[in-house]
Each structure stands twice: as structure tokens, then as C-alpha cells.
């Protein structure tokens, strides 16, 4: 990825988000240029997915780790944020309990479980949105990479991981709202979530975070670290005989990627207004993989592009022909892997090798 294309992408992401926000807030609803709040939220959602895709590309595209459980990190970040938003509701809930969220009152719980403590503080919630996915990735990755689980084996156990979390979060006694998850949020850091300005603000924040993450990711993959990572991806054993420890490299990106997902999830929940266990479903994680594949694996920008393209397509498609969406998505999986191994970006890429100097 050249410096030019990086700058261009940053410009498009930030500029696009700013434009939508301005047109939403400044242009009167009667104006032809007005952008509805629905579109603003939709764009925010796409960008959150783009964060997930970017994080996934970092591990899949550059370290060869095809994680089929990345949406789990995203969802964990989302739950951390959801817990904060839940506690912000306070007495405005149906049961009017100042401390306990509605679902706990409904379950006849008397006090807040210990793991809900501190979530009334947004800073703590953000910290957890980073730390929980990060620690899970650290433990899981440490076990997996140390014992050299790789390839499809790794994919399958990451899938099992998110599946186990899915089952766990469905349970009412886990204390995360069971089937229904967390919803009915009112405000975030004192700002009403239903206000247009809050929505636009969240969109801008998401765009800024995505831009920052893109820069971090690009720094990472163009550094010597990134070169080692690519070497590990293609010829892991060879790097070992050169004295590198591939497991440390993989663990580093895996954890970083999980943390990035966590942030994405934390931004996603206030814009969508709900988080429930279905976010953990294995299908979600695999769908994220196809975003990356569509855009072009190992290109960073391609992942972002793919996430936006596919989700835009999904919005359009499910609006017109909902029952055909799965056909389209399935076909996309098949066609991209068969005919477009380098994704959309691969169509434009020069066929010459990438030069480092």
C-alpha cells in the first residue's frame, strides 16, 4: 500500500463521514442535500464493520491466521459498552430501579453482580472493551500458537470459541440479559442517543478511530515486524530456523487485532441500540471473512472497502429481495474464492511485486 493510497483512503473515510454529518445536521430536511439520520447510523454501522474487517485482515492477510471467531471480540467490546449504556438508564427503566437493569429486576436479582461493578464509568467501560477481548485473545492465542495449532485447525477452534460464547451468553444466569441482550439505551456520556447530533458525533468518532487504526495497521505491516509476519504467514518453519519465534509475532497481532475489534464493537452498540448473543454466532465471523476476501486480503484498504461494499449490497438487497440475500451472499463466497482470489483491489493491482525501497 503506497503512501498515496493511504492518504487517499484516510481522506475518503474522514471526509465522507464529515460530509454525511454536515448534510444531516445543517441541511434542512426539505433540502435535496439532506441526509437522514438513518443513513448516518447506517454509515456508522458500516464503519464499525470496516474496523472488524481491518482487524481481521491484519491477522488473516498478514499472519495467515484465518480466525472464524473474530466477531466474538467485536461482540465482547459491544457488551462492555452495552453494560455502560445499561447502567446509564438508571431509574428510567421499566421497573425504575436505580441500580439494577430491568432484566435483573425481572429475574428477581437483589444486587448487581460483581462483574457489573464499575460499568457506570465510561472510562472503565472503554477500558474493558479493550481489555476483555485482549485478554481472551492473549490466553487463547498463547495456548494455540505455542502448541503450533495453525491452518484449518485454528480456524475450527476459533469457531468453537465463538460458538461456546454464543451458548454462554444465551444463558440468563450469565447476567448479560440472556436471549434479549442489552437494549433500550437512553444516553451516552450525558448525550441523548436519539439526538441527530449524537448520531453524527458517533459517526465522526467511528471514522476517526477507523482512520487511526488504519494508520497503526499500516505502520505495523510496513515495519520489519510486518515483514517477519508475512514470512511467518508463508513459510512459518523457515522463520524458526532463522531464529524467530513465530508464536510471539502471531500472538502480538492476534491480541492487537482483538483489541481493535473490541473498540469497533464498543462503537457499534450505541449506534445500533442493541447487543445480543446472536452477535457471537459463527456465521457473523465468517461473513466478516468474506468482506476481507471481497476487498482483497492482505491489503488493509481492501478489507475496509469490502466491508462497506458487501454491507451496502446487503442493505440494498434485503430491502428489495430479502429471500434472495442468502443466495447472493453464498454466491459471493463461491465466486470470490474461485474467480477473485485477490479481491476487488486485486483487479486494479499492478502485477509487479511490491518493492520495499
Amino acid at each position: 500500500m503506497s503512501r498515496l493510497s493511504l492518504s487517499l483512503s484516510l481522506l475518503v473515510i474522514l471526509g465522507g463521514a464529515a460530509l454525511l454529518a454536515v448534510l444531516n445536521l445543517a441541511a434542512p430536511p426539505s433540502s435535496a442535500f439532506h441526509v437522514s439520520t438513518y443513513v448516518v447510523s447506517l454509515a456508522g454501522k458500516y464503519l464499525c464493520f470496516a474496523i472488524l474487517a481491518l482487524a481481521l485482515d491484519l491477522v488473516w492477510g498478514f499472519a495467515g491466521i484465518l480466525s472464524l471467531g473474530h466477531a466474538a471480540f467485536f461482540a465482547l467490546g459491544g457488551y462492555a459498552m452495552g453494560m455502560y449504556l445499561m447502567r446509564q438508564i438508571g431509574t428510567r427503566g421499566v421497573y425504575g430501579n436505580a441500580v439494577l437493569p430491568d432484566f435483573m429486576v425481572f429475574l428477581n436479582w437483589q444486587e448487581l453482580p460483581w462483574y457489573w461493578m464499575g460499568f457506570d464509568n465510561p472510562g472503565f467501560a472503554i477500558l474493558m472493551a479493550l481489555a476483555v477481548p485482549g485478554v481472551l485473545a492473549l490466553v487463547f492465542g498463547w495456548l494455540a500458537f505455542r502448541s503450533r495449532v495453525s491452518g484449518v485447525y485454528l480456524s475450527i477452534i476459533t469457531q468453537a470459541l465463538t460458538y461456546a460464547l454464543l451458548l454462554a451468553f444465551f444463558r440468563n444466569d450469565m447476567g448479560f440479559g440472556g436471549n434479549n441482550g442489552l437494549t433500550d439505551f437512553k444516553d451516552i456520556v450525558g448525550l441523548d442517543l436519539h439526538l441527530d447530533s449524537t448520531r453524527s458525533g458517533l459517526l465522526l468518532l467511528t471514522a476517526a478511530v477507523l482512520a487511526l487504526q488504519l494508520m497503526v495497521a499500516r505502520f505495523l505491516v510496513t515495519s520489519r515486524f510486518g515483514k517477519v509476519l508475512i514470512a511467518v504467514r508463508d513459510t512459518e518453519s523457515r522463520t524458526r530456523f532463522l531464529g524467530y519465534r513465530p508464536e510471539r509475532y502471531k500472538l502480538f497481532v492476534f491480541v492487537l487485532s482483538a483489541v481493535m475489534c473490541g473498540i469497533g464493537g464498543a462503537l457499534y452498540v450505541p449506534q445500533i441500540g442493541i447487543i445480543n448473543p446472536s452477535e457471537f454466532s459463527p456465521a457473523n465471523s465468517i461473513e466478516a471473512v468474506i468482506w476481507v476476501a471481497v476487498g482483497g486480503r492482505g491489503t488493509l484498504i481492501g478489507a475496509i472497502l469490502g466491508a462497506i461494499l458487501v454491507n451496502f449490497g446487503k442493505t440494498i438487497f434485503t430491502g428489495i429481495l430479502p429471500e434472495l440475500w442468502l443466495f447472493a451472499l453464498g454466491a459471493l463466497f463461491i465466486l470470490v474464492t474461485l474467480l477473485l482470489p485477490n479481491g476487488v483491489l486485486g483487479l486494479f493491482a499492478r502485477r509487479k511485486p511490491e518493492k520495499s525501497q
Binding site: R224, F225, I230, R240, G243, R248, P353, K355
Partner: protein, 250 residues
């Protein structure tokens, strides 16, 4: 077999490896002195590659000692640790980092800190660049420095891999079938290259090609069915009736 002494670089004693009951190495013993170049020959399946796997930590021996220098037990270490001790390896099938340029391949192989926290912030220093230039000259790939390694010819990949070995600055090089698939001219050049390397480093080279081994002009160990069949100069071993029987008989 005598214990390692101060001039011994690599000491294998009674090493056995079996795969599902099949003995790939059968009580193999071998000593390589500091500064020595040793050729190891043997028919296919004799256990030459397996021997290298054992030395570099890829395969754990069922039995026997593998000692580097005077007292480093290699059987207790894993691949990166052994590489860090100064044992470099070239594979039978050339393996280079295909998506990277020739230059980057050498850069990654250069001796230095291998930890992520270093490589994350590392910048190319001028010493590193000089070193890479020097190696490029040695392996005759100066003009191809920015070529994608995957696009190199087979022989060029072999050389690049030897170059990567040099960049590692190992004390001992293990070279598995370096001239397989090379033209005669390339073979001769490779022999020169190895002799040049041997001026400063110890080398163990595995090869089938008798002319090549003869051109090296070093002590030869003949492996057969996982143990040493004969050892000595090339003329000595090729006159050994056991060796003749293994290569020509049956």
C-alpha cells in the same frame, strides 16, 4: 567415541530416531571440528535430512547425545534457540520468503534481535545495508536485489538461501543438497562458494553428486540406513567395498 574437546563444534553420539518403528537414524555418531567442512553422502532415505532435523531441533531423537560446542545439549532446545546459538540451515527444497524482495530476505536473515518489540521499531542501519550488499556480491544476485524472491530461478533461490545463511552469521552451516537441480556451471560456482564460506565457518554439506563432493575435496561421511557406513577422504570411501555395495549393489 571420544568426548567433545575444545576443538569439537558438533558432537553426535548414538543418536536414534524412529518413525512408527522405522529407524530413520540408528545409533548415529559424528564429530565435526571447528572450521571443518564435512560432506555427508548416502543413498536416498539414508537419514541425511533427518540428521539435520535432529541437529536443528525439528525432530527430537529417541536416544543419544547431540552437543554443540563443549557443553550445549541441543536435544533440550527448540529451533529458534538453536538458530540463535549459531547453527544455520539450508533446506533440501529451497525455501525463501517468496513475496519478499531478495533484499528483504537477506534483511530478515541478518543477525540481530529477533524479538517483536525490536523488529517493530527497527530501521535499516547503514551497517546492515553494507552487509547485505556484501552478501549480494558473494551470492551473485546484486542486480536482482529488488526482485521478488518467488520469481527467482531454482538455482538463484538456492544461492539466496545460502546468502541468508551467511547473513545469519552462524558458526555452523548445515547445507542440504545445495546443487540439486543446478547446471554444471552453477554446481562448480556453488562449490567455490562453499569453500569460500568454509574459510571462516564450519560447514556440513549433504550431497548426492559425487563430482561435487570430489570438487569440495573434504572429509566424507557415508550414511546408510541411519548410521555411519564409512568415513574418510573421497578416494578412501569410494574404494570401500561396503560403500560400493550400497551404491551399486542390489
Amino acid at each position: 567415541m571420544k568426548r567433545p574437546h575444545s576443538d569439537t563444534l558438533l558432537y553426535l553420539n548414538g543418536v536414534s530416531v524412529s518413525f512408527d518403528g522405522f529407524k530413520a537414524l540408528n545409533s548415529l555418531s559424528l564429530i565435526v571440528e571447528k572450521g571443518e567442512m564435512r560432506a555427508v553422502i548416502g543413498p536416498n532415505g539414508a537419514g541425511k535430512t533427518t540428521m539435520m532435523d535432529v541437529i536443528t531441533g525439528k525432530t527430537r531423537p529417541d536416544q543419544g547425545d547431540v552437543v554443540f560446542g563443549t557443553d550445549t545439549d541441543l536435544t533440550k532446545l527448540d529451533e529458534p534457540a538453536i538458530a540463535a546459538l549459531g547453527i544455520g540451515r539450508k533446506f533440501q527444497k529451497p525455501t525463501v520468503f517468496e513475496p519478499h524482495s531478495v533484499w528483504d530476505n537477506l534483511l530478515l536473515a541478518l543477525a540481530g534481535d529477533r524479538r517483536p518489540r525490536f523488529t517493530l521499531w527497527a530501521r535499516e542501519t547503514s551497517e546492515e545495508q553494507d552487509k547485505i550488499e556484501e552478501i549480494l556480491t558473494t551470492i551473485r544476485l546484486k542486480d536482482l536485489r529488488q526482485h521478488r524472491a518467488g520469481d527467482l530461478s531454482h538455482g538463484q533461490k538456492q544461492w539466496l538461501e545460502i546468502g541468508m545463511l551467511l547473513a545469519q552469521e552462524p558458526l555452523l552451516l548445515l547445507v542440504d543438497e545445495p546443487v540439486a537441480g543446478m547446471t554444471d556451471a552453477e554446481t562448480a560456482q556453488t562449490a567455490d562458494l562453499l569453500r569460500e564460506i568454509n574459510r571462516t565457518k564450519s560447514v556440513v554439506v549433504v550431497e548426492h553428486d559425487m563430482d561435487f563432493v570430489r570438487a569440495l575435496g573434504v572429509k566424507v561421511t557415508v550414511l546408510h540406513e541411519g548410521s555411519v557406513l564409512s568415513e574418510g577422504s573421497i578416494d578412501h570411501v569410494s574404494a570401500d567395498p561396503k560403500v560400493v555395495e550400497v551404491y551399486l549393489g542390489r
